[in-house]
């Protein structure tokens, strides 16, 4: 123990030598957050990275938000109306909206921001394709006229994930959509400190003291965005053990996404509590429907029959309270979730799969399963999936690689034996798949679609009908039809849902707002 006291004395001396540099924490309330990954790209319209989206929600505002029940609520918009046939829309901005540089938010800023978003986001592209024009009627009012029915105008303007329509100053939004912005002025509740931004180390925000929140309580990405700390620092810690050590030692206040292998250590730690900052996510098996063997729909269906959600999720998430199975492509508890799942059950149907393979004339062609060995979030799935496929009668070639290699490889359209691929597994956040038009991999337009390139006219027709539907009942019925079609065309197989637990320091942190995305307003620090 003597060493301890010698070292303590030495450190005391050193700290005295460093005195006179007052700590920020003593002057201001600083919330220290470990984000899910490093923030490298600062333009939330340019990338779909989750961490960039969360950065976007901190510094920008949106016209509409989505509350905890998934309902669209006005956010920057004060009043809005539409014609009886929903072909004309009018929006008026609420009072008190200003950018961080003090300039008021105007209709011109909104229109230019929406145009840039509409060039990047898939739903935005559909909205603008259906639009006759969009024009400013005054500094705070703008109107949108459609040339064809589009039943998801408000859903598009409130889209919480992938690429949300954040409102930027007109001059910034004039940046071509294929180039990143270089000015980070928003009108949101936090101000980004460009001068303190150190990628790989920390990202700093301060409270926007001039932000005028809505009066309603915060809920999801909607309601009053009241910031209750003076400063927020994102501390970049990539090592899971270091994250746990840091929150245990009080060096950080919140870990946005607890890695599964640290769950027990944190659960048994009396200083730590769990919160649901972001509700859930899901995993899915994606098949390459362009090349053999899965260009044969029956062989692809047989692969879906091999899926055992319980076995796969148990292997990946380890702890039963961190996951649940769900045979629907839509998340549990969301409006379009349905048990009408065609032949897919999420439970292994190996006998049926073997019979189907025989019927389809499977010639033992290799199934190249991509295995992101260094990616802890996904790397327990492929060995289990490979074993299940083998039991169903497939010849599986599981190829190990890192995640960046996988995302490049999945763009290859070659035969699986010539550098291509047959199947891979990835994860999705809940806002990504609450709606068939938000869910990127559900495409039937062949090589123009998402990786896997399924060609299925019926699927595309159903999506078009969903878009044009003008009642929620119609949309629900079509969403179920789309789900059944996704299975019949063997586009993908859901593997189950995982909880994205957030760890917080029990005695220091409160006021977490559960949202489809990570938001940090409302959080208090003692």
């Amino acid at each position: 123990m003597a060493i301890r006291y010698v070292l303590a004395a030495f450190l005391f001396g050193a700290l005295v030598a460093g005195a006179g540099h007052p700590s920020l924490a003593q002057e201001t309330k600083v919330l220290r957050v470990v984000p899910q990954s490093d923030l490298k790209i600062l333009d939330p319209i340019w990338t779909t990275a989750f961490v960039t989206r969360n950065h976007g929600y901190a510094i920008y505002d949106t016209l509409f938000g989505v509350d905890a029940e998934g309902k669209v609520r006005p956010q920057m918009v004060g009043e809005y109306s539409s014609s009886p046939d929903h072909m004309k829309w009018s929006f008026t901005l609420r009072e008190g909206l200003h950018f961080h540089d003090g300039k008021p938010v105007t209709s011109a800023d909104v229109i230019q921001s929406l145009k840039r978003w509409g060039e990047r986001d898939s739903l935005g592209q559909r909205l603008f394709a259906a639009m006759e024009n969009i024009e400013a009627k005054s500094d705070t009012t703008f109107e949108m006229a459609l040339k064809q029915p589009f039943g998801l105008v408000l859903e598009a303007l409130s889209k919480p994930a992938s690429v949300p329509p954040f409102i930027m100053p007109k001059s910034v939004a004039e940046t071509p959509s294929d180039k990143q912005i270089d000015s980070y002025i928003g009108s949101g509740p936090f101000i980004f400190k460009v001068d303190e931004y150190r990628p790989g180390e920390r990202v700093v925000y301060v409270k926007n003291t001039k932000y005028v929140p809505r009066n309603e309580p915060a809920s999801g990405t909607a309601g009053g965005k009241v910031v209750k700390v003076d400063r927020m620092e994102w501390v970049i810690l990539t090592d899971a053990q270091t994250q746990t050590n840091a929150i245990t030692n009080g060096e950080v206040d919140l870990i946005e996404w607890v890695p599964a292998d640290q769950y027990l250590a944190l659960k048994n730690n009396p200083k730590i509590d769990f919160a649901n900052l972001v509700p859930k996510g899901s995993f899915a098996l994606h098949l390459n429907r362009l090349v053999p063997p899965f260009n044969n729909v029956k062989i692809a269906q047989a692969a879906l029959m091999a899926v055992s959600q319980e076995a796969l999720m148990r292997a990946q998430m380890v702890h039963k309270d961190l996951y649940n199975t769900n045979a629907s492509i839509y998340p549990t508890g969301t409006p379009y979730n349905s048990d009408k799942t065609s032949f897919f059950t999420g439970k292994p149907q190996l006998e049926k799969a073997r019979a189907l393979l025989k019927e389809a004339g499977y010639q033992n062609e290799p199934v190249v399963l991509l295995y992101p060995a260094n990616f802890a979030v996904l790397n327990k799935f492929p060995p289990v999936m490979a074993a299940l496929l083998k039991q169903a009668g497939f010849n599986v070639d599981m190829q190990s690689m890192d995640w960046p290699t996988l995302v490049a490889r999945r763009a290859m359209k070659n035969l699986s034996t010539q550098g291509g691929w047959s199947a891979f597994i990835t994860g999705w956040n809940i806002p990504d798949n609450v709606n068939p038009l938000f869910y990127a991999p559900i495409t039937g337009n062949g090589q123009k679609g998402w990786f896997g390139w399924t060609t299925d006219e019926r699927l595309e027709t159903l999506k078009g009908e969903f878009l044009a539907a003008d009642s929620e009942d119609q949309r629900k019925a079509l969403a179920v039809s789309i789900q059944e079609r996704v299975y019949d065309a063997a586009v993908l197989a859901p593997l189950g849902e995982y909880k994205q637990l957030t760890a917080i320091r029990k005695e220091a942190i409160g006021g977490i707002v559960t949202s489809p995305v990570g938001v940090f307003w409302g959080i208090t620090k003692n």
């Binding site: 030598a17 490093d38 790209i41 294929d178 990628p199 840091a246 995640w403 960046p404 990504d432 991999p441």
Partner: protein, 313 residues
Amino acid sequence: MLSFLVRRIVAIVPVLFVVALIVFMMTRFAPGDPAAAIVGNDASAANLERVRSNLGLNDPLPVQFGRWGWQLVHGTLGESFFLKKPVSELIGQRIEPTFALTVMTLLMTVLIAIPLGVVAAWRHGGWLDRMLMGLSALGFSVPAFVIGYVLIWIFALRWQLLPVQGYGRISDGIGPWLSHLILPATTLSIIYVALIARVTRAAVAEAMTEDYIRTARAKGISETRVLIRHALVNAAVPIVTVIGIGVALLIGGVVVTESVFAIPGLGSLTVDAVLSRDFPLIQGITLLFSAVYVGVNLMVDISYLVLDPRIRY
């Protein structure tokens, strides 16, 4: 001497050119696509292609290499694909933690390893020698991350004397700077202490068998003076060589240690760059490390002239 220096410095240019060419080719032929990493999971193929084109990845390789060479000549080392900042600026942001960690590790290593090695050689074959060499074998065998986590557990989590992670910039005060450096520098130095102590022991033990040591003792010089002024100085060449090699090895060790302690230095920047396939950043950092390596070797060669007057280039 002067012509030797000029020749060696001029020789650095083709060495770095070859390194640049090899690193460039390796990044381009390694699997992985930075554009795919940038656009994210649900981007369309058209977006992916547009980003590839904007990054210049569709240009022929000689054009891409020429573009990078032009940027090198202008001192920017290119621009990061992800961060949209000059690579030189990113390296500048990260160099302080790595430099501080390396220097402190070297200082701790030299101050501990050389006395240990000398003492072991002095008591060559005795229990002190065997104990010190046993400990050095242990230090050399245990992986850096294991040592790091054990030190964190004892000094940060149990005794709460030192921080778990991060780096305090020297501009924030000596106290935070030092407290953040002690554990990672200790972690790294344990390995190098083991290495340098063993080499010091061997070199000093060999020197102790030389005739001039017997002569010195016969003249009645104290044993301490014999050890330091006669044996250690004459054993300095292999010790300095190993310290030089140690600096190169440190570059590898820093990568792991910076990861364990979440130090925002060049090591973690390298890992991030490789995992995201940020080609300009990978190229810039590798070139910098190569230049450091070549520079350290040059300094070691020059030090031979000082340490051993018989050496002439």
